[in-house]
Symmetry: D2
Subunit: 506 residues, 4 copies
């Protein structure tokens, strides 16, 4: 699809080292022009287990299907799986009470009445809960998948069954991918006025192919790092004629995607791939940002002996105070059992260092991209690769030493562990609120720019999730609110506080 | 096979609530007379992934196979898988350096020269490392499986290829099971003088069918709770004419199987089955013994809010000091997200309590047997069961409430998580040492009774595993040894110090 | 007082390396014949702060004092301090609800009616709560101090005021010490029938000086390691004509005195003496028994980097699994900031190692006795000692290097931190129950031997302390009790289960 | 001294609820016009123990003293204590290696040559190390105390002995306080060009009394919240004609003063005052900011059961994920053993709630000011106050219930625990760097405004402290620096990153 991607954008994606799709395809074709956003590859291990590996090889594009109401405005693998998909959605609803609660609170006023939303996201049970919430709030929705492998077919069927126009199936070709996006947007007598995107492909398609539609969009909500990056570039170039909201950087989402989610997924990812015992293992974690903090905390709690490497003296001092030895990788490379990279940097683990690791040691990446471990350097003739499980390679040195490489250096938690529904609920709730905000904002509140979610809505997302924990907020008295100079209903922190250690200076 | 099981034994198994095989078979037959020992159902989730689900439906008993040396004294699924199995064994060897080290230390003196060992255990890569160690130390081995589902076919092939007489495959029928045991023992011109058993079936078969062979056995090494129990009963009845060693209750094994292993496997088991987020979840752990201590520690570290129930005031006081509220289950039943039973007791969670649980809450068992949750009470017409994944059932109340039941109330860690090779290494090393000890003990050291591993050998097993952690022991000076009244080489604790977690011994 | 101590006992005390009183006295006399039991030097830092440093230098023996009822059968520093002492007792009662609860439960039946108890313990507010409980249960009491420095004068006054015959004050001479004991026992027309001792001095005095009284004693309750040791020796020698109860080794007391108490007191002791910041400090803990486990857990939680040394491979393996590097002391001696000994061994830290420590490093002992650090080796001319605070010495090497030695190598937690009232409550409740048990036991239950507290009473002590934590025990149903083979009211563990932390008694 | 304090400033201090000096004075006079900055009341418990409580009642102002060089330009308690003070300084130097290292690195170039610094800080051994560093770097210093009680007399003597003009002693009167400040500034033939202040009193004095001197000052470095607040007010009013640096809000200092320091000092403060056992105690922490996070982490680790109250849903969600129940205070008020306030708010604990607390429960404050607990409401006739120890009051209800109030609701960690030298080292190093920066900055870099320490210098402070922990920073390769767009020497985070969760958006 390179024909409509301006050359400079393609290049930039490469230089920015975003994660490209690495799914091997039978045909050998690689969707090279597709940049996969950080969150868009959330592990599908478990989801996949629900999805039939049907022998039906007919392309959905070649089939005509009708749902029970007689409609055919959709294209999914098999509409007959709708009932199974419905059950999946119901199960997801149990852990997404914040969204259900939002649905209930806002249902009377139908804040999205008149909204015509085109969406391009992973199509999973959790997304279905979001889509059905948007519908309940008054929106009309057409939907497509942001990833050619991540669609839960039965969920797509269930959505189609209730009348959402879904164009997606698991295992699309690249051509299918763009065909689906086009079907989603290009509908006789129906013109979208809102975009919900994850990765920026839908946005880009509308921008390029339907500029007149694009101009009339009232708002774009973008979920991924990549998509946000593209929006900022459009904005910089003066070509963004629509207000957009960056929900990737909302405080709640960030906190959960990084610290808390990594704390659990580092254990999950290592266990599912290697069955390693954590107790007593020597682990070095490269980088002590939020991700590194989450990983080290979990491993320390499980009885591992953890070392940290850092380039920033402040983070290094934090690591010291949290009880970790701060070392250079070379100091411990011969003794550690596990290396975990969390830096956002490149070549943090080099071939030279891999050469010195112990037999049986494990190397994996929890950081931003797949450049942290110099995996390319391992693809040399003298080393043998053995795929021992899905996502697990043994790289074997001439002397028989094996190093266990997970997910070929891609993100461990996205490739080898699951993301709890609760985290997806936070993201989905944020997306729904962002759509409501942009759709209902009075003229002039949002200009043709990229916005962060207002602090108060961030707090609202958090508050919608507190009942899950049976947590009870304390309310300020009038006197206390006055004393603190705060509104009783928030926001409770100055806008810059999301940035935690802000001084209290005017 | 009931014909040779004395009636009182059969009854006793039922009353003792040992775990019976619950594997559903196609034929509907249930191997009721087979008691499955505690360790004999160690999770095979991951192991299974290596094993082909070959379409070859021919029973191995009906095939004739030869290994590359032309021998046919074995019966496995497919001898051609030997090479693949060899790789599995090599991988296991990496994490079983204690056994390899034992192999090296004792190889010169061949302490098992002349030993003819029949073994009945799970046949996995880890067991293969044990068997090959026994062979390296001079023993001849014939082997069969203690569990009809747990054999790794390719490992069985690899062992047969090097000349170990293995009779086992994954998916044996009950008849196959006993046929294999018999083939193992009943060999023209070869008579076993040592037994390594896991569950007591082999021992029982020899005792009943080949009493003359039994009398000449020099020692039995038994691994499981059930098998040990059977031995104590034989001993009580004055019918045990052979010294036996109970390796189930060795300190090192107990510590690892309980506290440390549960600490990791509770997280692993819950995550693999439910993808639940631990942070903020309210969990009640019933029972604060070693297993309960391991579970609570892990969950607390992951940010769960944990309650404990106890019947013993001393354990309750420990729970208080460790930072857990000690409650009656009824106090928290309506609010908790997860119930975990670790008591060894029965009906710890009753139908009445399950009725009051929240929608979406999870119930599972980490305790001794499958009686802790009153699962039977859930098999009533008004409740619907939905199997949503392997080992995961949704039990649905008439009002739509779902309770998530894991492994049908059987042991979560054995059913839904893996056991690290390191733990299996401790068990295997202990078994090897016990065989060596019994085989070489001077006349009279062991009588016709059940013994625990001598304290000093327990310490030796531990010391063989220290290099894995690069741990360096301090040695006593002569002066210090004298001051403490200890031998410089141990044992370092009085004999009774080991009995710490014994308790299940008559 | 050596004249009545048989030579072999004196020698043995020295050889057994019990802690002798090291309090310097003005007169230069040292109470050499006094062995101070382990618990008898519980820190008095805070208690001392309540006690006046009155200028009145008159010996209490030379004063005549009357309490408000006109009695003079006592000898304390100043009877006028009674009211202040009463307040101290009331404050202590708040944290000793178990004892108060026992007082209430047993008050009606007066289980100690007729008991004439002589006691020799520390005289503190907590002991006063015990004594007043004994009185409330029907006993007559005469009391003296087991330590020449530990008496809270105002508490002694308060007890004397209500009619308990107390003979004790802070700062007794050695001669005073034995005079007080004798006054306690030797009372016209009153003959003790029970002994409550802490250290064995009272028992010894009665045994030696009043053999006829001794024969009629119905029971001895002994609290300290030293006293228990003496009793076992008497028993071995066939000279113990009275049943005695060893309360030092009760499970509850052991658990609290070791693991839980040390977990808190290591932090408290280090902080009060050195104000050290724990975060990031490298600490080596020698010994990974209960005390070592408590110390390491606390320091790890505060962000220290902790190493462990061990001689026992099983404990070493536990340390590995708990996340500590197991090293030889020499490997880390140059880099650690703090050394803590918890071994029960001697010369664990040698002069040679002290020579290699870093400038400013801290050395202290949490183990059994003052022999763990070779303090004697530091008392050489080339090293300068500077006392910088109470219990804190800087030992200065010729090159200016300072090593900070705490409590001269004696027990840090007893010398430099406090023992919470809650722990003392457990001890006192155990003592009270032991007295009741021995006094009321039917003829023949206890012979002329040393006994451990019955398991069931240990559990009862624990249960009396659960309300402090608002902890609610679960009760077994009849069916469950039968299933487990237990009495519904306990004991819940076999008798040998308690021996977990058994002292090293023959 | 009210005469020179503009009325609006005095009022504002009251309304801003800064902490005023609450030290009772013998004369009954209260230094009401003195606002004590947050950090200026760092606990002196231990320091005080070094200071003689000399009987010499002569005011230092009335004595003439000469140091050994014959100079009399100082005014301290007793110049003869110099040697003792020197030892204190040497001890402090051991834990302030960062400052010593700075001294060494910059000594050659004398970056403060020509600087004439007047300082007004606590005068402790740690400050002395700072002052002597400034002198070593070329500065001339005159110093006075920012707190009438905090001077270590022997340290003041040691500084005076080496020629620093110190005017300070422990126990100054209010009049003394301002006399000392004036002596410091008002020196014939010597005019300060730099100010180092802690609380703003010195700055204010110069500003008001010596406006001509003030105008020529090259820079002010201010340490305290209060002083910084005053500077911002001056700046706002357009009256700040000098660049000032706010070192209170440097990242390193904030992190250490809040999270890490509170983590240790909450335990220390509670233990020293109440000897409470933490295990099993139920504690409610009001507020889950940095201070609350530190307190809860420590208490959870020690086995307390911790509840959190919050007004902000985001912080509340963090508390949930960290494993704490989020409740309203009223839900747990009857059951908790300890309340700790960390909110910065007022009347967080009201009389009504105090009425409902359990007997023996503890109330204390770790937050910003002394308004969090409504202590005033407890000063009513029906309640009796009993001072049981320094900083510990029992408030007694008519029914005998006691609530234990610590430090009268003032900051627990400042009143009842110590601040480790290491934390003071960070502050002192930051002050020294700020002085160097302001003194050497090229014309125009700093205007007449209040500045935060440049990010890079914050990192430099951190890096100077890493050797204490033997921590080794990793250095970026050229390629990596380019990839990340960073200078190899830092700063490593964008300026806004101090604000932690900042997105990576341009």
């Amino acid at each position: 699809m390179a024909f409509f991607l301006p050359y400079h954008l393609q290049i930039q994606f490469v230089e920015d080292k975003q994660e490209f799709s690495r799914f091997p395809t039978k045909t050998g074709r690689r969707s090279l022009s597709r940049s996969i956003s950080q969150s868009s590859t959330d592990s599908y291990g478990s989801a996949a287990s629900y999805t039939d590996s049907s022998d039906d090889e007919t392309s959905p594009r070649d089939k005509t299907q009708l749902n029970s109401k007689g409609t055919s405005d959709f294209c999914v693998k098999n509409i007959k799986q709708a009932e199974f998909g419905r059950r999946e959605i119901e199960i997801a609803e149990q852990d997404m009470s914040a969204l259900i609660s939002l649905r209930k609170r806002a249902q009377g006023e139908k804040p999205l009445a008149g909204a015509k939303i085109v969406g391009c996201t992973h199509i999973t049970a959790q997304t279905a809960v979001l889509i059905e919430t948007l519908v309940a709030l008054g929106a009309q929705c057409r939907w497509t998948a942001c990833n050619i492998y991540s669609t839960q077919n039965e969920v797509a069927a269930a959505l189609s069954e209730i009348g959402v126009a879904v164009f997606a199936w698991k295992g699309e070709s690249e051509d299918d991918f763009w065909w689906c996006i086009d079907k989603c947007v290009n509908m006789e007598g129906w013109q979208p006025n809102m975009i919900l995107d994850d990765g920026g492909d839908l946005t880009h398609w509308v921008y390029k192919k339907y500029p007149n539609v694009f101009k009339k969009i009232r708002g774009i909500v973008e979920e991924s790092v990549t998509g946000v990056h593209r929006l900022y570039q459009l904005s910089k170039a003066g070509k963004l004629c629509v207000p957009a909201m960056n929900v990737n950087d909302s405080v709640t989402k960030q906190k959960f995607d990084n610290l808390y989610c990594c704390r659990e997924s580092i254990l999950d990812g290592l266990k599912r791939t290697t069955d390693v015992m954590f107790g007593g293992k020597q682990v070095v974690v490269c980088g002590y940002g939020e991700v590194g903090k989450g990983c080290t905390a979990a491993l320390k709690a499980m009885g591992s002996i953890v070392y940290v490497t850092e380039i920033d003296p402040i983070c290094a001092l934090q690591a010291c105070m949290d009880g970790f030895r701060v070392v250079k990788l070379n100091e411990v490379i011969r003794q550690v059992d596990v290396i975990i990279t969390c830096t956002g940097n490149k070549n943090v683990v080099t071939r030279d260092q891999l050469d010195r690791m112990k037999n049986g040691s494990i190397v994996c990446n929890m950081g931003h991209s797949n450049t942290e471990i110099d995996v390319a350097s391992l693809r040399t003739p003298e080393l043998t690769w053995e795929r021992v499980r899905s996502q697990v390679d043994h790289v074997i040195w001439p002397d028989g030493k094996r190093v266990i490489l997970l997910a070929e250096g891609r993100l461990l938690n996205l490739s080898c562990s699951t993301v709890p529904t609760f985290v997806l609920s936070i993201t989905a709730t944020t997306q729904a609120l962002a759509l409501i905000e942009l759709y209902n904002a009075p003229e002039g509140r949002y200009k043709q720019d990229v916005y962060l979610l207002p602090k108060k809505m961030d707090e609202y997302v958090a508050s919608l999730h507190l009942p899950t924990f049976d947590a009870h907020l304390t309310e300020l008295s009038d006197e206390q609110a006055k004393y603190l100079g705060l509104n009783k209903n928030g926001p409770f922190k100055p806008n810059y506080y999301r940035y935690k250690h802000a001084s209290k200076i005017p």
